[in-house]
Structures are given as structure tokens and as C-alpha cells.
Amino acid sequence: MTKKEFLVKIEELKTDIGILKNLELSIGKIIEETWKEKPGPTPFPSITDLREWDFKLLRRYRPFYMPFCDVCCLCTFGKCDLTGDKRGACGLNMAAQQSRIVLLACCIGAATHIAHARHLVEHLIEKFGRDHPIDVGGVNVEVEAPVTRLVCGVRPRKLGDLEDVLDYLEGQVTHLLSATHTGQEGSNLDFESKVLHAGMIDQVGMEIADIAQISAYNFPKADPDAPLVDIGLGVVDASKPVIMVIGHNVPPAVEIVDYLQETGLHDMVEVTGLCCTAIDITRYDSKAKIVGPISWQLRYIRSGIPDVIVVDEQCIRADSLIEAQKIKAPLIAASPKNCLGLPDRTNDPADEIVADLVSGKAPGALILDPEKVGEVAVKTAIQVAPKRRKFKAIPDVKDVIEGAKRCRRCNQCRRACPNDLDIPKAIEDAAKGRLERLAELYDECIGCARCESACPEDLPIHSFIVKAAEKKIKEETYKIRAGRGAIQDVEIREVGGPIVFGEIPGVIAFVGCANYPKGGREIAEMAMEFANRRYIVLTSGCAAMSAAMYKNEEGKTPYEIFHGAFDAGGIVNVGSCVSNPHIAGAAIKIASIFARKNLRANYEEIADYILNRIGAVGVAWGAMSQKAAAIASGFWRLGVPVVVGPHGAKYRRMLLGRKDREEDWYVYDARTGEKVYVGPAPEHLFYAAETKEEAMVMIAKLCMRPSDTTKGRAIKLTHYIDLSRRLLGVMPDDIHLFIRTKADIPITMRDEILKILEEKGWKERKIPDPTLLPRLIRRRK
């Protein structure tokens, strides 16, 4: 760390004018230089410091806007109709308005992660002290915070060091958010640059949160063999009192486990979770169980299995208290960001709160002390379980059939369904006593229950679906590898070369939420396909869970089939949402450890390296949230393309390359300064695919990079061509753009491809030492 607080404490000072007692004087910060690496050009960058880099990206990957709404309604000038080339009363046009909304989304996402980190760090400092060391992998991980080092130019050694970084991040979010005010930024491209800045600081915020919790809670430390833990609705032992935790900020869940251990009750109570809190609690206690991603929230609550529900922050249904009441389960809100209208019981004695919750006098309580949450949740679960007897909100078969008979055939349920599921047909069948179609819907239902809200008969349609799929739900018993956290430096040393040269065909990260077009199974299928092809597959968050929910013929799940090392053919779960920077960090560490590039505050150069050399692609197939938008934009600025599923088109802006515009695909050859055409690699920076098949072909294509060796390019082309033939039924029509020399041609397809090249008038071209930065040219011709 380079900055250190200068603190003077005086217990008693006698002077001519009086006596001073307990005086504490803090005089800013002094610099402590222990890091030998020379600082780069952009430590703690402002919102404009990396603008030139952003514009380089945006010239190649131009924004394509798809407005979600024709109007702007953000101030009282409006609503303003921005259709076509109209401008609003403030002078803003549609392109700028769309990029402004994207910036708002990314600010929300970044603020959420940064505030999460702030709460976590404050709590951990209180519990473990400011001097608790940052340790994410012992001697195996020397570069403990690659994103923070890269962006801020500091090297955090202790929990207390993280506070300075958070101060910076909070300032940046405020500046960025202020740019969205009426009468501020007017250019869509400058909004876009700020979007990229929001994404970058979001990555830092997430990294701070995860390295703090790994260090303090002793989560798996870059462990490729992190334990396999249970996941699925069928893994919960409902004969025990069950606590359900939902959200992202793990301290309350940790305190639940600690209390169980301290009181010897660990084997008597089930701790289960949803979303990232679930992932993180299994990093702390491998006996805890994950029920599933965010879509499992309603179905799990309504099953009646949880006896107590504890919610912290992020991705929690706003009606969780109402749903909890339906099954007579008390709810504890544990975050100031999500108080749910409950009375603040933080300072009340634990037993008083427990009594009120168990008796039903209070449906829930707000408790802003994680330790007290632990005690109250456990005591309440044990006392309430025998009274509730797993009271559920799922109807029995007879009720489903009788309810279905009341259906008016109005189609409102289907028209409300994000995936346009044919609910009316399934209900029609159900009315005749046939529940198979309803059960089929379960696989593609995202669990939003908009169908129920739309139904004029108030039919609990989601519960009907869950009842019909009862057998499937019982069989939901899978294994997921607990989030391992960082990638080891030694792993980077071993695979850095093969990745940069293209011999490992790519690094593919499945991240993000569960707003899938056709169910989570597609994630498992894609992950296994690429792992089988010897790509390195990474997972995090809800996508990590979905990747687990699949079994092969031998009953094995993907995390059991594939290893967890950062190496070819692995499926590597890094952890929760805030673990995503380990993915970005791996790319950064390849530049730093393998290529020996200076890392410290050297953002532009490292991003240029990643864009041109590291075949990494992010896939957020079910991206839903503002956090996912921020996470994606953090990858874009680093030069990592992101593919989203069809619902991701609703982010209303893509960053698309044009492979037919040759002039867009020139780079400098750093050896000579010559401008060299390198083909559309990677073709897009942000792109929504219509189907899984399209996505898989595009993912393989997006792994190509200008620096690939001929051997590496041939391997990458083999996968691209093979996937295109198998999934699209055709040879790709653009391979001539990716073949630089005849040595790039996959040997088994040589004759066929040579014929295509001849038809296209292809000419051999050179393979440069690629860069977009003129300052990196070593010798000009």
C-alpha cells in the first residue's frame, strides 16, 4: 500500500492555555513506498483519464442502440418524445439518452457492489481488525489484487488498506452518476466512455469485497480442489429445522453457521441458501447447501421447507416478506439496504425477538447486527419448526385441477410471461387432469410469477407449475465445486503461453443471472461442450449454479466430470458475483506474470494486451440485473468481449464490430509501426445471441486474437468451423478473414479451405506484434 494514515494520539497535554485530554489528530495520509514496481500513467484514474482508450474501442465497436422506450421521463420537462432524430427539451437526442440509461444502469450496478464491499469491509475490520492481512492464496498468489493494482496503482496488504480504495470508488460513482443529470453530458460517446469507467471501478469494488471475505473468513484460497457441495431443491433435509438465506452479503449467514457450531447444533439445523449468499456460505462451510439460482426463490419458499428466511441484500424478491407469511415462516432482514418495512430490532434482546417471531406476534424483524441475526435465526428455526410442520403454499393436485377449470382462456398469463411460455395450453390440459404440460414448463420457467399477477382469476400459476413438477424437483440433487477464489500465479505461468499463443483455444467465463430463454440447462451444455474441447471454462454466480444442474448417464454433474484447475478442460467455479474479478484478474495476471508487463496503474497498456492477445470471452446467458451490466462493461474496457442471451438485447445497446469494414481492423505492428490488417478479431465487444447454437459458434469465433500463432489460430479455426458445421449446418462464410497465412489452415480441412480462399481472392498477410497504442511502437519504419 502506498498511502498510510498519519495519526497522532495525545492522552494528556498541559500548556499555558489549558489541559488537553484524549486528543486524536489525523493528518491526511503519508506515502509508504514498499512496492518496487514503477507506477504507470493512470493511478486512481478520473472519469476522463482513460477516455482516449475508450474512444479507440468505440471507433471499432460502435454502439447500436435499440431503445426500450421512445420517450425520456427523467425530468419535468418531459415526457419528451425522442423518436427518430427528435431532441428533448434539454437538447438530448435518442442515442445520448440510451447511453445515459446504460450509464445509469452501470452506476446502479457499480454502486451496489461498492456499497456491498464497504459494508463487508467495515464489518470485517470490526471483527478481525484493520491489520488483518490480505491473503487470497498464500505463497501461490503473490498478485493478490490484480484489478486494484492495475486500476489504482496500490497494493493492499491489510483489511484497513481497502478503505482508501473504497473512498476512491465511491467518489467515482458519484461523479459518474452526476453526469446523468439533466443538462450535463450531451454526447453518446462520452456517456459510453463513462459506462466503461463505471464497469472498471465496479471490477475493483467486487475485488475488494471478495479478497476481504476470502482473507477474513478463510474461504478456499485459490484452491482447484475446493470441496464439492450439495446443490438443488432435492438436497435439503426437510426433517430438520431449515434456515434459508437469500442475497449476496454473507456475514449474517456466517454468523448463523458460527452460532450453530458454538452451540453444538451444527448437525441439527440445515443452512440453505439462494443466489450468491448461498455460494459464499458454502465457501465458509461446505455442509451448507445451495438450493439454486435466483429463479428458485419463489418455488423454494412456497415449498414450505424453510422455517426461517434471512435476507441480506441484492436480487431478493421485493415480496419476500409476503411470500414468507404465506408459509408462516418468520423473516429476518439483515441489511440496511433492504429493510422491507420491518421494525428495527437491532438493539432488542435476542430472546425477545425470537419470542415475537415464534409466536407470530411479528412476521419479521430488521436486525442490523450479523451476530444477533445468527443467534435469532437459529433459535427461531428450532422453535418454529415443530409449530409450522413445513406448512406450504403449494396446492395439491386436486386444487390444481379445480383451479385450472376456472381459467378464462384470456391469455394474459402467456402475454405476461417473459419467455412466452404456452401456459394457457398447459392449464387447459390441467383442467382435464393432465399435468404433464405444466411440468414441462418448469424447465424453462424463470420463476418471476408475472403469470400470477396477470391472472384475472388470481390462480397461483407458478405454484401449479411447481406442483406438477414435484417429481423433477425431488430429483434435483447435484454437486457444485465451492468457489475457489483467485487463480494461482503458478497456474498463470503454466497456461499463459498456450493461451496467448492460441494453443489453449480460449478462456470462456459463464457468469451472471438466471434470466434464461430456455432454462439453465443450456449453461451446463455450453460449459461442457467447451470444456470437452479443452477450453478453460470459468463460472461464477447464478451461472455457476446452473452449470451444476445437469447429470450425465452415470449420474455425474459437470463439476465432478471436469477438474477445477485453471487449465485446459477445466470447469472452474471462482465463486459469487463479487468473485468475477478473479476472471478479469486471470487475464491481467497473464499480461503481468507471463508477459512481464508492468501492472501498476498501467490500465491502457494491459487492456491493449488483453484485447489483442488473450482469447477470453464472457458469457452472461441470463443477464438480468444492473450489476450484470456493470460487470460486462468492466470486461469491455479490458478488451474482453461479452455475449448475452436474447433477453440481454433489452440492455438496449450493443457494441458491434463490422467485419465487412476492412478499415476498422488495422493495428500497429509494435516492431515497426506499420499498420497491419488483422481481421475482425474479436469481432464484437457486446452482443446478444438469439439462440444457444448461434452463441456457441460466436463464442468460438470471439476467442481469436491478432497475436495467435499459426498453430494456435489453426486450433481455434478448427473449433469455429466444427461448431458452425454441427450447429448451423454450414461452413462459416468468413474464414478467409481469419486466415493470415496458409499455416493458419487446419490441416484436416486444407484442400477445402484452399478452394474457398481462392474463390474469395484471399492474399497472405503478415502477423504483427499487435497494438492499438502508438506509444508502444518500438521502432518506426
Binding site: Y65, D70, M94, A454, A649, R652, M654, D660, E690, E693
Partner: protein
Amino acid sequence: MAEPWQTAEIPGPKKALLITKPKIVSAMIRRAKRPILIVGHESAEIDLNGESLIDYLIRLSKHAGMPIVATAHTVRYFIQRGFRPDAWMPILDVANRLRDPGWSGLDGNGQYDLAIFVGIQYYMEWVVLSGLKHFSPKIKTISLDRFYQPHASWSFPNLNMKDWIACLKVIEEDLKERRG
């Protein structure tokens, strides 16, 4: 007044004109100098009284002399029928090119003036059509799908299967007849 199929997909002041008579579509295709048909993957899942929508679209393309772009993995269904579409590319790539007045088109002869969309997920087609409505004012768009797409220039209202099939048939017959 037509409503969007997905209830909450309310667009704004400018909404698609309704195709009240299917011959509006055939007339627009005939009048267009450079029409293009963009076909999504759902076309392969839609059965029109015993034939796939893909088969119908192949005939429509032939009657109208209109090129086909197959999006996503739809190309495989065309190839299986012995028909090679003029191009295949992601829906976002074709939309991104359509918004560029300088695009030379699939054949090098320039930008299109009428783009017809069919068979893409409702919500994805919805935003793509919005992009074109706002940023490609010179291109007319038609949604040939069964559900009202408010961001198109022209769209059917929400139709039942029977009425939709009848409309598609009229369009085909009209193009076939006038082509001679």
C-alpha cells in the same frame, strides 16, 4: 387499437400501422426497390397446417425475388430443404448493417428499402425493430409474425393461428399471381 403481444411492451408515440388487409404486404413488397427477408429460428418451430413456416418463406422469397438472411442457426433448416439462403448472420449483425446508409447490401448493390422480419423471439425482434425505427428512418419494416410488433412500420395485430395462416396465404397468392 392493437396491443403489443407482451402486455408491458408499450413503445411510445410512434407505433406500427396495422396490416388490416394482407395485400398491403404484397403491395409493399412489389413496390419496394430492394426488399429483404430476415428469418429467425422460431420459423422452424412453427407449423402451418402441416408445413413448416420455413417452406412457406422459401416460396415467398422466390415469388417476390427477395433475398433471405437466416439468423441464428436457422440456416440449417433451409439447407436441409436444399435451399441456400443469400446470407446467414446474427440478427444484430443484419440490423446493424441495415442502420448504416452506406451498407452495400448482400449483393453489393446498396442498402435495402424494405426489411421484413419473421420468426425471432418477440422481445428480441421488438428491440431490434425499435433500433431500426429510430436510427434507420428510410427503411420500412414489416413484421410478418402473428403478434403485433409496435416498433415495425407495419405489423399484423395479434392474430389466432387460423387467421394468420389465411393472411400468409393471401400474400403468397398475390405475389405469385402478379408475378405471372
